[in-house]
Structures are given as C-alpha cells and as structure tokens.
C-alpha cells in the first residue's frame, strides 16, 4: 500500500502514494493527502473526478510513458515511467518485442526499415478467436520482423525488433 509512483509535470516530479482505499481513496501527493473519488462516465478515458469534494472534468489517454490529460478546460501532459519499463529501458530490453503467449500471425504492418511511432500497430496476431494489435512501445525504426503471416508461434518467440535506441 505504500508504493510510491513518480509523475512528472513540466519537469517537476511529484510522488504519489495511496494512503487509504476505504471508506474513500486517499492519495498523498508530495506529503499532502487528498480524498479522491471518480465517476467513470462510461466513455473510455472520461470521468468526473472529485478531489476533496471539488469536481473536475477529466479526459485522458495514455501513450507509453505519458498521460495526456484535459482537466476542466486545460490540457496537460504528464510523464510516468513504470518500474518494469524503466528496467527494460535500462537493459535496452524494449528493442525486442516477444510473444507472451502462443498465437498465429494474422498480418504484418511494418517492414524492416520502417519508421514507427509509439502506439503504431506493428502486427496483428490471433489468439482466443481475437485479433490483437501488437503495438510499438516507443518511436523507432524496425530492424527485423521475425515472423511471417500465418506463422504460429510459441510464448517467448521474438516477433519484431526495433533498432536499439540511439
């Protein structure tokens, strides 16, 4: 319960910690506690957020290590790097995209040499009768595509590798 999450706004990093979940959510930001409740509007990414009883309109979308937020009438971009991603970054581990479960390749959307942006669909795989988009986790250039259309693969198979970050 006392994990601390770092969020960076305009170059200044704030530390968020969840202090209570019942009866109400309490989030500590830089040592000050705020009571938070959220009424998800039913529209993905939109909600009414109550902070210490004050309502705020929120629209947001996450893009790899950033969360874009419209809070009331202003827009913000907040950086967040989760510990796993951070570790991968440190190890250069996000250059290779691996399958975490078996499946079959439905289509390939990126060829070696292609410039891709974070969030771009690199390939579509099928599993559980569902097509799942496999997306780039960062901007970069495709180094290699290790699978072909209709190819089955096992968990752990390398799917696509991006050029190491420069």
């Amino acid at each position: 319960m006392s994990t601390s999450f770092p969020f960076t706004l305009d170059g200044q990093t704030h530390s968020l910690t969840i202090r209570a979940r019942r009866p109400a959510l309490v989030v500590e930001v830089d040592g000050r506690c705020y009571t938070v409740s959220e009424d998800a509007s039913g529209v993905p990414g939109e909600s009414t957020l109550l902070i210490d009883g004050r309502p705020h309109r929120v629209a947001r979308t996450r893009e790899s290590d950033r969360v874009h937020v419209k809070l009331d009438r202003t827009t913000w971009s907040v950086a967040y790097e989760d510990p796993v991603t951070a570790a991968q970054h440190d190890a250069g581990g996000d250059d290779v995209l691996r399958a975490d479960m078996p499946g079959v390749v439905v289509s390939l959307n990126a060829a070696p040499g292609a410039a891709v942006a974070s969030g771009d669909v690199l390939l579509v795989i099928e599993s559980m009768k569902m097509q799942i988009n496999v997306v780039a986790h960062r901007d970069g250039t495709v180094e290699n595509v290790h699978v072909e259309v209709n190819q089955s693969f096992d968990k752990g198979t390398e799917l696509v590798s991006l050029h190491p970050s420069t």
Partner: protein
C-alpha cells in the same frame, strides 16, 4: 452552372469546399497522398483519387498529376483551396488549357499579384496608398542607398514572397547590407527568385484586409474587412470581422481602395487585398491574395454568405451574386487557428497522434476541422489542423463563445495551442481591441501557461495517475477500461 469539381487540396479547406459543393449538388472528387488516406477530406468526396509522390506535399504540388486526375474522374472544374498550387499562375493556365474551369482568377492576374514588386507598381497606378519603399532596380548599392533614404526601421521582403519567408526588420543602419543579402539568399532558396525590396516598417501596425469578389468583367464588390493583427512568426493565429475598432470613414476608404485595385485588375472570383494600418490612421497596400483565405469564415459569418458558393457560381458564369448594397454586416466573428505546436517553445511545430479529438458545438460555433480522431500528425504538412470560428451579436459575445468552445475542444496526444488561444482572446488587451502585429510578443509575459499552486498540480497528476493501470489497480482493483488494448483508441 458547374456540375462537378475536383478539390486540389487537403485538410480543413478541402473539407470545407467539398461540403459546399455537395450541398450545391455537384459531383465531388478528392485527391490525396497515401499519407492522407484516412483523412476526412477523402471520405467527404463522392470519389477520391490517389496522387503518387515520395514526399507527401509534393503530391499536392504536382500540377500534371492533378489535372490528369481531373480528366480521369471527369471533373469539370478545379478548386485549388489555399496554399499548394492556389497562387500558381502556371497551374491555373494549365487547368484552363486542359479545358477545365479554374475556380479562381485569370492566370495573368495571379502572376501579377504574385510578384510583389509588380503588384506594388500596379497598386500605385490604381491610386492605392503604398508605404515609402525602395526597389532593387539597378545595382545592389543603389538599392542600399535608396533603402537607407526611407528611414529606419525598414522591412526587407522577397518580391516573390509570402508567409514571412525572406522577411527581415532592420532597426540599425549597420545591419542593412547583411540583412538584405540574407533576405536575397532566402528568397532565392524559397522562391527561386532572389529579388527583394525594402519599405518603411510601420511600428505597431495592424493588419486589415478586405474581401472582394469580381466577375472578371470589371464588376467588383467588397464584403468589408477582416482584422488579422494577432500573429506569431509572421503568421496569423486569430482573425476577426469586422476589425476590432475602426472608424466608419476609415473603413469606407480602405474598402474603396481594395475595390479600386480589384476593378483595375478586372478581378475574377474571390480575392483579398491586404493593408497595413498605422497607429496614425494611415494605411498602406501590403499585397493581394488571389484565392480564398484561411480566415474567410469570419466574413461569411458577419455577412451571412457562403464564399465558396459564390466562387462556384462565379466560376460557373453566373456573375456577381450580390450588389454592393445587398451586403451588410451583422454581429461579430472570431477565428482561432488550432495548430499542433508548442507555444512555450516559440511555437515549434509538434507531431504525434490525435488520440482523442472532441470538437465543440453550440449556437454560433463552427469548427472547420481537417483531421480525424486517431490520425497521425506528422511534419509532412502544415501544423494547422482546424479552425474554430465563433459568431456573436457583438465582439464580446463572439469572444465569450470562442473561449467556451476552446474549453470544450479536446485534443490529446499531440501538443497544441488551444489553451494558448483561449488565453490570447481572453486577455484584457485583446478584449479591449488594443491589437497590433506584435501583440503576442508584447504580452508574452501574461500569455504563458498559468502557474499552478500545489493543489492544482496535485489535481493534474492525480487525474493522470488514474490513467495508469498499475496505479489504478492499486487504488480501485479496476484497470482503466480499454486502456491497454493496442492501437490508438484508448
């Protein structure tokens, strides 16, 4: 009457032209580069033809491919929009040579007005006031002497220029020669025409322009003026009609000068005569744009007209749709150009993806958009992705509506100037109408993003944190719906 049209453009202006053409019952054809295949203008047309080019902008500049597309699709006319080929006299001539109707002025008028030196001479002959200036006619040295004789500060401009390129302000006589050489080389690079000229730089100038329509048979009407004084990097970002403050007698003289110029040019179709208005009430011819302007909707809103419809009717040979007496102004309208750029870093263009896009609605609110939710915003095209245009009974109401609509307009996934535009038009100096082209520089210190206190910053980061699954799961045991599914639709 025209029965079909190809729109040789993209983005918001292609959408805007296509909508009027559809409403008039014309068969519509769009063209697009592969990079734009998901763009809204492609969907709006009855059919769409792809233009092939390595570089996306090159597709929309490829006159031969566009004319071939018009012929292939059987379109009887071509609307160039603004930018790209809109002010290219050779393109207009080639369209007409192919037996198609070019929706715009005669090729020779485009060429005349495109050459700033010739246009100035033509304006002088028409009796339109010009700022004192020096042309490079004989030698570079003679030009420097003549320029120095105008007095400082001076503005150096490219003869073939536009969009601020090749433009430079000289405050110190010692800089004149170096600035002139730089301008010449920029002009050569951008316009393949190194000619430059110098004119007196008016301090705290206002930009006033007049919308005109001509039938190409000597008849011209004006649709009053627009004010476009709020600019950044020599480009307009907020425009309005009528001008914020303008004595009736001065307005009449400016409109009259515009009509005089257009009449002398035997102007055909829609055009705009731009002027610089000095604080002392003197005004000077700047240039004539021989096409529809980005900011044409503010005129449409106060005059209750559709300028694209007027263009199509004129191109179809119907003559001027209104007499001058039938055109009057009601209310006030403001346009804000929504651009993907970072106002905090000198308006540097930004790229990304329009992951969330919610357009504003409401009485008096018009959003001329050119992108779709999910669309990538690349460096390939201009950074303007739409225009918010609001009408009010008076200027205050138009501003109030625009501020509210900018608050409603939501664009997430790429940096933009939406909040900045709201701060500009809600600024006391803007509301007071104290405008000049240096407005955003003069008020830079009060136009920055608001400094948030600790509680406000906490609200922003809490709102963001709840969009991160790890945090959310710890807080609620429920992840954000859809958030982790791939693709742009979070």
């Amino acid at each position: 009457m025209l029965d079909s049209i190809l729109v040789a453009n993209r983005g918001e202006i292609a959408c805007r032209v296509l909508r009027t053409a559809r409403a008039m019952g014309l068969r519509t054809v769009a063209v697009y580069h592969h990079a734009d295949r998901g763009a809204p203008h492609v969907s709006l047309a009855d059919s769409a033809l792809e233009l092939h080019a390595e570089v996306p902008t090159a597709a929309y500049l490829d006159a031969a491919q566009i004319i071939a597309a018009a012929e292939r699709s059987g379109a009887a006319s071509v609307h160039p929009g603004y930018g790209f080929l809109a002010e290219n006299g050779d393109f207009a001539a080639a369209v007409e040579a192919a037996g198609l109707v070019f929706i715009g002025p005669q090729p020779e008028v485009i060429r005349l007005m495109g050459d700033k030196v010739h246009a100035r001479a033509f304006a002088a002959e028409a009796g339109v006031p010009l700022a004192p200036s020096a042309l490079m006619e004989e030698s570079f040295e003679a030009f420097l002497d003549a320029a120095a004789g105008i007095g400082l500060p001076l503005l150096i401009k490219a003869a073939a220029g536009g969009g601020g390129k090749g433009m430079s302000i000289v405050h110190d006589a010692a800089d004149l020669e170096a600035r002139a050489r730089t301008a010449m080389s920029e002009a050569e690079r951008y316009f393949a025409d190194g000619r430059v000229y110098a004119e007196r730089y008016v301090e705290q100038p206002r930009h006033i322009e007049v919308q005109v329509l001509g039938d190409g048979r000597g008849n011209v009407v004006h649709l009053f003026e627009r004010e476009c004084s709020v600019q950044r990097r020599f480009q307009k970002i907020v425009e309005e009609a009528p001008a914020a403050t303008l004595p009736a007698e001065l307005r009449a003289r400016i409109c009259e000068a515009a009509v005089k110029l257009a009449t002398r040019a035997n102007y055909r179709n829609a055009g705009t005569v731009e002027f610089i208005l000095a604080p002392d009430g003197e005004f000077y011819f700047l240039e004539m744009n021989t096409r529809l302007q980005v900011e044409h909707p503010v005129t449409e809103m106060i005059c209750g007209v559709d300028l694209v419809e007027a263009q199509l009717r004129l191109a179809g040979g119907e003559g001027l749709p209104w007499t001058q007496d039938a055109i009057s102004v009601t209310g006030h309208a403001i346009e804000c150009r929504v651009c993907c750029e970072d106002p905090a870093r000198d308006f540097l263009p930004a790229t990304g993806r329009a992951r969330v896009l919610r357009e504003p609605h409401g009485p008096g609110v018009r959003f001329d958009g050119g992108i779709r939710e999910g669309q990538p915003i690349t460096a390939a095209f201009d950074s303007m992705i739409g225009k918010l245009v609001c009408r009010g009974d008076d200027r205050t109401q138009a501003i109030d509506r625009a501020v509210a609509a900018l608050g409603e307009l939501t664009l997430l996934g790429v940096d933009h100037n939406i909040d900045y535009l709201a701060r500009v038009i809600d600024h006391p100096a803007f509301r007071a109408g104290a405008l000049h082209t240096g407005f955003v520089t003069e008020h830079a210190d009060t136009l920055g993003a608001p400094v948030l206190d600790a509680d406000a910053r906490a609200a922003v980061v809490i709102a963001a944190a709840l969009g991160v699954d790890d945090f959310r799961r710890l807080a609620y045991d429920i992840p954000e719906p859809y958030a982790s599914i791939g693709g742009w639709r979070n």
